[in-house]
Structures are given as structure tokens and as C-alpha cells.
């Protein structure tokens, strides 16, 4: 018996196709599936999340979270502006809004479940005009009016459960990370839509109060000066890029044929000195 080894033919055990093609098909497929699943889930959730009675939000542990934040008494001026802005809104029956002030350097303000709005000294210090402050407050009130906190929480829970279910069956950590990022990108899309919606209502409120919406532009300029120009991708952020918010505002102002460059109301002296005292207090 004669034995000899033939040369092995190529291309039977392996594929000659460029792996980039497979990569593109598979990753686009995965992203499409994850996005579709999440969007359908969110649309379903939205159908009932806003039917959760506002009263029930108060039973959630958010109240103790707020209590632990060391909130302090607001200055009479701050109190006055919050009420003034609140009066421009027509809130659904039974909805109550509670304002809190925290003596802390954080440059932020947020609205959360059960109608709580928290303002930080850090943000107030960056502002110079009442119009800008009114924009912040109106923006947060609008979030609560549209029940964005409860909607966001519901989205987070449902998407979290769905992604855990999918990723536990895939068994590959990198792919799981990608699905997680896709999931949060989908959530953030909704979050940004909420920001635009809140901006719109806030601008309407400013127009009711002052006859113009320069406070919105002033506030966004403050954001730019604090954070610098945005260089990141919008699809990975909870908030729209400031530049895009400015564009939306400018468009609204132009659509209503309102004038730019109106004089904004400066903060009164007593409020400035109150802020200063607050800062000194926090340093002690």
C-alpha cells in the first residue's frame, strides 16, 4: 500500500469572506433588535405609567431621599420667584410641587418623583438674572407636569429587566456591554425628548411672565460657560447638547416674532448677599 500526503485544499474548513461584512451584518442586526425591543417596551410602559396616580408617587421612598439631602430654608426672594413661576402653569388636579434648596456647590437643579424640585446654591450662584432663575424653575416644573420622573423610572425598570433577560442568555461580556450601552442610548433618547419638551413649556412660561424668552438663552449661555462647548456625542447623553437647546429656543422665539436682546431683571441686592452668606456658612 502506497501512502502519500496530498496538499490540503484551502477554503473548505475556513471561509474566505471578509469578517468585516459579518461584523457589520451582526452588529447592525443586534442594535436593531435591541432598539426595537426597547422602543416597543417603552411605548407599552408609557401607556400605563402616566396613569399611576400622582398620590402613589408620594408613597415611594423618594421623600426620605429628599429629607436626607439637608435642605434649608429658601430666601424670601427665591420663594417669591418660585411661586411666580408656578402660577404660570396649569397643573393637573391633585398635583402638588414642593421646592427645596440645598446649600451645596453642585451646579444643578432637578425634579423628581412626588413633585419635589431641588435647587442647589452652586447653580444659583452662576446665574445673574431673575429670568434665568425662572427658566430653571419652569423647566423643572414642566418635568413634573408631564410626569417625566415616573415615566423615566418606569422605563429604567422595564429596560433593565429586558436587557438582563437578553444578556443572561448571550453569555458574552463584551456583547452584554454593547447591549447595555444600546439600552441606555435608547433610554437617553427619551430623556432628551423630555428635556426639549420641558424647555418648550418653560419658554412659554417665561413669555407669560416677562414677555420675552431671553432668560432661556441666558441660562444656556451659563451652561456653556460652566461646562465649555460640548464635544461629546448627543446620543450618549441624558440631556441634549446645549447648542441644540439654544437652536430650539431661538426657533421658538423667531416663530413667535419676539425680539431678542431685551433687558433681563437682575437679582436684587438682598438675594446676592443672601447667597454670599450661604456660601460663607457652607465653608464653616
Amino acid at each position: 500500500m502506497e501512502y502519500s500526503n496530498q496538499e490540503l485544499p484551502e477554503g473548505i474548513n475556513t471561509s474566505k469572506e471578509n469578517p468585516l461584512k459579518e461584523f457589520l451584518v451582526l452588529s447592525i442586526g443586534l442594535l436593531a433588535v435591541v432598539f426595537a425591543v426597547i422602543f416597543i417596551l417603552i411605548l407599552l410602559v408609557d401607556n400605563f405609567a402616566d396613569k399611576i396616580p400622582f398620590e402613589m408617587e408620594k408613597d415611594l421612598p423618594v421623600s426620605s431621599f429628599i429629607k436626607n439631602m439637608k435642605t434649608e430654608k429658601m430666601s424670601p426672594y427665591l420663594e417669591k420667584v418660585t411661586q411666580k413661576v408656578l402660577n404660570t402653569f396649569e397643573l393637573p388636579a391633585g398635583m402638588t410641587i414642593t421646592f427645596h434648596y440645598v446649600n451645596d456647590d453642585t451646579v444643578n437643579a432637578f425634579a423628581t418623583l412626588a413633585g419635589h424640585i431641588v435647587l442647589y446654591r452652586g447653580l444659583l450662584e452662576k446665574l445673574k438674572h431673575e429670568d434665568e432663575l425662572a427658566m430653571v424653575i419652569a423647566h423643572e416644573i414642566a418635568h413634573i407636569k408631564y410626569r417625566h420622573p415616573i415615566l423615566s423610572v418606569s422605563h429604567g425598570i422595564v429596560v433593565g429587566i429586558a436587557l438582563t433577560a437578553i444578556s443572561s442568555s448571550s453569555g458574552n461580556s463584551i456583547v452584554n456591554d454593547i447591549m447595555g450601552t444600546t439600552g441606555s442610548a435608547a433610554l437617553m433618547k427619551f430623556s432628551r425628548d423630555y428635556e426639549y419638551q420641558a424647555d418648550k413649556d418653560a419658554i412659554n412660561s417665561l413669555i407669560k411672565l416677562y414677555g420675552h424668552a431671553d432668560g432661556a438663552l441666558g441660562l444656556f449661555k451659563v451652561f456653556e460657560s460652566v461646562a465649555g462647548k460640548d464635544l461629546s456625542f448627543e446620543f450618549l447623553a441624558t440631556h441634549p447638547l446645549t447648542g441644540n437647546r439654544i437652536s430650539q429656543t431661538t426657533k421658538m422665539i423667531n416663530d413667535r416674532r419676539l425680539s431678542h436682546r431685551n433687558t433681563m431683571i437682575e437679582f436684587p441686592k438682598e438675594f446676592k448677599s443672601w447667597l454670599k452668606k450661604q456660601q460663607e456658612k457652607s465653608e464653616v
Binding site: 501512502y3 500526503n5 469578517p19 461584523f23 451582526l26 453569555g171
Partner: protein, 148 residues
């Protein structure tokens, strides 16, 4: 954001270097297979012909090849959709052929006439994060027959 950049960089590096290494390796494999083709590698358990003038000795060759980031990612996607995991096919093809070549090289050093009873063993020697495959080891061994 930073995660995304790191991920894309790893993916690009994995693709670039992985592809370069694979093409280079395949060229080398094909060249050496031709060079060592005069030593038949026979899978049957018993020698094809009985000859009293030959001595036998165990020869073995083993190789460890790492999976690159790109291959691992594609394989992970395949876990979801199913289908042929082509990115691992080339990896294992290379590893098996390389192991056989190393075994043959050992046989060549003995001036062997042929190798029979060839066996191959494959194992993943290192499990990466959350049990993803890190690298594969292939061991080829057989009995080389050479002149006394």
C-alpha cells in the same frame, strides 16, 4: 463615551493585527506544509505496512493561539443569532495545522519515514472575563517510524 472609544480602538486593533497575523501565519503554514509533505501523516491506528527495520517513537507538537478582540466579539454576536462561527474556524484551522507541522518537524529531525496513529487534542487553556474563550491550545501527537 470613553468606554465607546476604548471599545472601538480595541476592535480596530484586534481586526488590524489579528488579520495581519492570520494572513502571515497562513502563508507560513502553506509553505511549510509543502516542505514537510514528504513525511506522510497517517491517521490509522496500526502502521500501514510492517517493517522490522524501523524503530518507533512518539512525536508531538503543540501550539497555543490567542483569540483577538475582534474575533471574540463576532463570536459573541454569533452566540445570539446562531450560525457558522467563521472567526473561530480560521483560528482552529491554523492551530491544528501548526500543531501537525511542529509534530512533523520533530519527526523530520528523526529522519522519520512516516507518522501513524495521529491524534489531535484541543482545549481552551484560559477562560477570559466571564468565561469567554481566551486562547486555544492544540496538541498533535503520533508515532514516528524511522530507520534503525
Amino acid at each position: 463615551m470613553a468606554d465607546l472609544i476604548i471599545f472601538l480602538t480595541l476592535l480596530a486593533l484586534g481586526y488590524g493585527f489579528g488579520r495581519y497575523a492570520e494572513n502571515k501565519h497562513y502563508k507560513l503554514i502553506i509553505k511549510r506544509e509543502k516542505e514537510l509533505n514528504h513525511i506522510p501523516a497517517i491517521a490509522s491506528k496500526i502502521p500501514p505496512f510492517r517493517r522490522q527495520d524501523l524503530k518507533s517513537q512518539l512525536v508531538a507538537g503543540n501550539v497555543v493561539i490567542s483569540v483577538d478582540f475582534f474575533k471574540r466579539f463576532i463570536a459573541g454576536l454569533r452566540n445570539i443569532f446562531g450560525g457558522r462561527v467563521t472567526s473561530y474556524e480560521t483560528l482552529l484551522d491554523r492551530a491544528r495545522r501548526e500543531a501537525i507541522l511542529r509534530m512533523k518537524q520533530e519527526a523530520k529531525n528523526l529522519d522519520a519515514e512516516f507518522i501513524f496513529n495521529i491524534k489531535l487534542e484541543t482545549s481552551s487553556i484560559y477562560k477570559g472575563r466571564k468565561n469567554s474563550v481566551g486562547s486555544v491550545e492544540v496538541l498533535a501527537y503520533g508515532t514516528a517510524m524511522y530507520s534503525k
